[in-house]
């Protein structure tokens, strides 16, 4: 299709406006993170406008934000960062391993009640998290898991309905003969899943890993409910400390600086995985 200059202009306009709308909060956050405390407060209360670029960028905000995180200078941040990393890595591993294994079972094993079970599993997606929040809390308290990372990590090893669904759809497209060839070659189901299916599921695994990573890294509610002590808090909860600790919004520039820092891993991961990721999304779209 040949585009006229006018349709081109309209297209560009729409795309630029869309991009601007999505970039605005990010830009706002970054600008405020470089402002002086006074100008940042003015920006957030709306009493003064905000510059496109901070006239006097305060790089020290970042060091200050890191130092002020948690109750122990510097170490508070290290604690929160390592907690976030441990929880996120375990949840991503658990979700990929369990979801792909269950997806394989639903796609390739024949067992009694497979289809009803699959429907029940899909049904769990309809259940809002808020409904199970309190019963789960009571259960985990029974286990003595409060203020440990267990309630955040262990459920991930029991699969995620949405990703199980994605894996199942993807695995169902892998020719049956590959599985049969592996059986003839001497592999059992676990080995087939690990050595044949999982390597072929890379696009789905990329989607599953990136979504799970971003979701877990940014999760606020879960850690807030289960992790009570300062030392066990994750970054998302520690961020909130800036508000509670000082009340008001005097430290909004530090809050924004730490927010920017917290976001970096997600952005880096997304860019790194983008190719595989888009391949997976497109594939799902065409053959879904």
């Amino acid at each position: 299709m040949k585009r006229t200059p006018l349709t081109n202009a309209i297209l560009w306009f729409v795309l630029i406006m869309g991009t601007a709308a999505f970039i605005f909060p990010l830009w706002w956050m970054t600008v405020v993170s470089f402002e002086t405390p006074q100008r940042a407060e003015a920006a957030i209360t709306g009493s003064a406008g905000i510059a496109l670029f901070p006239p006097n960028p305060q790089f020290a905000n970042y060091a200050n934000a890191v130092r002020e995180t948690g109750s122990v200078p510097w170490m508070g941040f290290v604690d929160a960062l390592s907690n976030s990393i441990v929880v996120t890595v375990l949840v991503v591993l658990g979700t990929v391993i369990s979801s792909s294994a269950v997806g394989y079972a639903f796609a390739r094993l024949r067992f009694r009640g497979r289809n009803p079970l699959f429907l029940v599993m899909l049904g769990t997606m309809m259940l809002p998290g808020q409904v199970t929040m309190i019963p789960l809390f009571l259960l985990f308290r029974q286990f003595g898991w409060i203020d440990t990372i267990m309630p955040l990590v262990v459920p991930a090893f029991f699969g995620n309905a949405f990703f199980i669904f994605m894996y199942r759809q993807f695995i169902a497209q892998i020719p049956e003969s590959l599985v049969e060839a592996a059986r003839v070659d001497g592999l059992g189901h676990v080995a087939i899943w690990w050595r044949i299916i999982l390597p072929l599921c890379r696009p789905v695994t990329a989607i599953c890993a990136v979504f799970t990573f971003i979701g877990t890294w940014n999760d606020f509610l879960g850690p807030l409910i289960y992790l009570h002590s300062d030392e066990s808090a994750t970054l998302a909860v520690a961020l909130n400390g800036f508000k509670n600790q000082y009340g008001g919004l005097e430290d909004v520039h530090l809050l924004m600086a730490l927010s920017v820092l917290t976001m970096i891993p997600c952005i880096v991961l997304f860019i790194a995985a983008q190719k595989t990721f888009v391949e997976g999304l497109a594939r799902g779209a065409v053959k879904g």
Binding site: P175, S177, L178, E180, A181, A182, R183, V184, D185, G186, L187, A191, I196, P199, L200
Partner: protein, 379 residues
């Protein structure tokens, strides 16, 4: 290498509603060590299911299967020591050609030595085995001319190359029995004929027991030491290719084996004269003893002679189509016996034109008679 014996083997699929479908029915088959056995038939005849039961990819519903005298009905595929070449090759897309060929060898090694051996200092034995696998892969790839492709991935190969890798993966393990499920059907016509010849040569070199499934009767005839023609889950004939062609056991085999297919006409035999649609042809005195019965008459297109119209003992025909194939010509003829096909030498057929009138005659010593019905037996 080994014998494979099927005794009254059957496969019944049971649907959700309890309805059952019999895909394979009481197949008796004894394949000798080193024999190239081809299962051939139209799609849905049960040939692939039979092969998959031999492989252990489908459970056997009835009967018994023995490989080398051992009952293997309940032995899993991996322990039957068979190799299977799939129609779509089933190469592992994430592994290179070398890794694909070595895969079966490595999983078997892992079974034997296992983690315990690895931890208790069987390191040098492991290294020896790695070298042995490496040498085996090199040997196999040389046999099949894959040396230059060892580090490529399947997606970087042509159809013919993939097919050879699939064969390489099978022969690397040196199994007791090779099973091929329509391995040539994804290749183009020319490559199919070349590969067919290579497979035949490979069989002679390996002296392997091969069970091979195809729906292409020409492929079946060229490859087979023994041809097993199947239809509707049953074995229709189990004989050499030549015998299936010359003495088809029943009407189905007669129509299935041979290109173009045999002309078969339903009619009535009485006192040595065959009558169909009011047109009678005397077959000769030796047919008189067969008495008075409904039957089907068959004769191969290359036994048809075209004679002048209204010649005594011929069937009146008009030429519907002339297909010139170079050295020979296929002629489609409209007659009161229906559409018949004649295959003539190109020289003989040179002057024939579509729309010409002719008479169809054939040598009754090459006629076949079958009982009435779709699978009517040879008389």
């Amino acid at each position: 290498m080994a014998n494979v014996t099927l005794t009254k083997v059957g496969k019944v699929y049971t649907g959700d509603g309890g309805a059952s479908f019999r895909a394979v029915d009481a197949v008796d088959l004894s394949i000798k060590d080193g024999e190239f056995c081809v299962l051939v038939g139209p799609s849905g005849c049960g040939k692939s299911t039979t092969l998959r039961m031999i492989a252990g990819l489908e459970e056997i519903s009835e009967g018994s299967l023995e490989i080398d005298g051992t009952l293997v009905n309940d032995v899993p595929a991996k322990d039957r020591d068979i190799a299977f070449v799939f129609q779509n090759y089933a190469l592992y897309p994430h592994l290179t050609v070398a890794q694909n060929i070595a895969f079966g060898l490595e999983t078997r090694r892992a079974h034997r030595s296992g983690l315990v051996a690895a931890l208790t200092g069987a390191g040098s034995a492991r290294r020896d085995e790695s070298q042995a696998i490496h040498a085996r892969v090199a040997e196999v790839s040389k046999t099949l001319g894959l040396d230059a492709l060892l580090h490529r991935y399947p997606r970087e190969l042509s159809g013919g190359q993939r097919q050879r890798v699939a064969v390489g993966r099978a022969i690397a393990r040196d199994p007791k029995v090779f099973l091929f499920d329509e391995p040539l059907s994804n290749l183009d016509a020319r490559l199919r004929i070349e590969t067919r010849t290579e497979l035949r040569m490979l069989h002679r070199r390996l002296a392997a027991t091969i069970v091979y499934v195809t729906h292409d009767q020409e492929e079946a005839m060229t490859l087979a030491d023994r041809l097993v023609v199947m239809h509707k889950g049953r074995v229709q004939q189990n004989a050499s290719a030549q015998e299936c062609y010359e003495r088809p056991a029943n009407r189905f085999v007669a129509g299935f084996i041979g290109t173009p297919p045999m002309n078969i006409i339903d009619g009535h035999l009485k006192a040595g004269t065959f009558t169909a649609n009011g047109v009678a042809i005397a077959l000769g005195a030796e047919y008189a003893r067969l008495g008075d019965r409904a039957c089907a008459l068959g004769f191969r297109p290359d036994r048809v002679k075209l004679v002048a119209p209204n010649t005594a003992g011929s069937v009146a025909a008009s030429i519907a189509a002339v297909e010139r194939l170079g050295d020979r010509t296929d002629i489609a003829l409209d007659t009161s016996w229906g559409r018949l096909v004649a295959r003539l030498d190109a020289d003989v057929a040179r002057s024939l034109r579509e729309g010409d009138a002719a008479g169809v005659s054939f040598d009754s010593s090459h006629a076949h008679l079958f009982e009435a019905g779709e699978c009517g037996g040879r008389i």
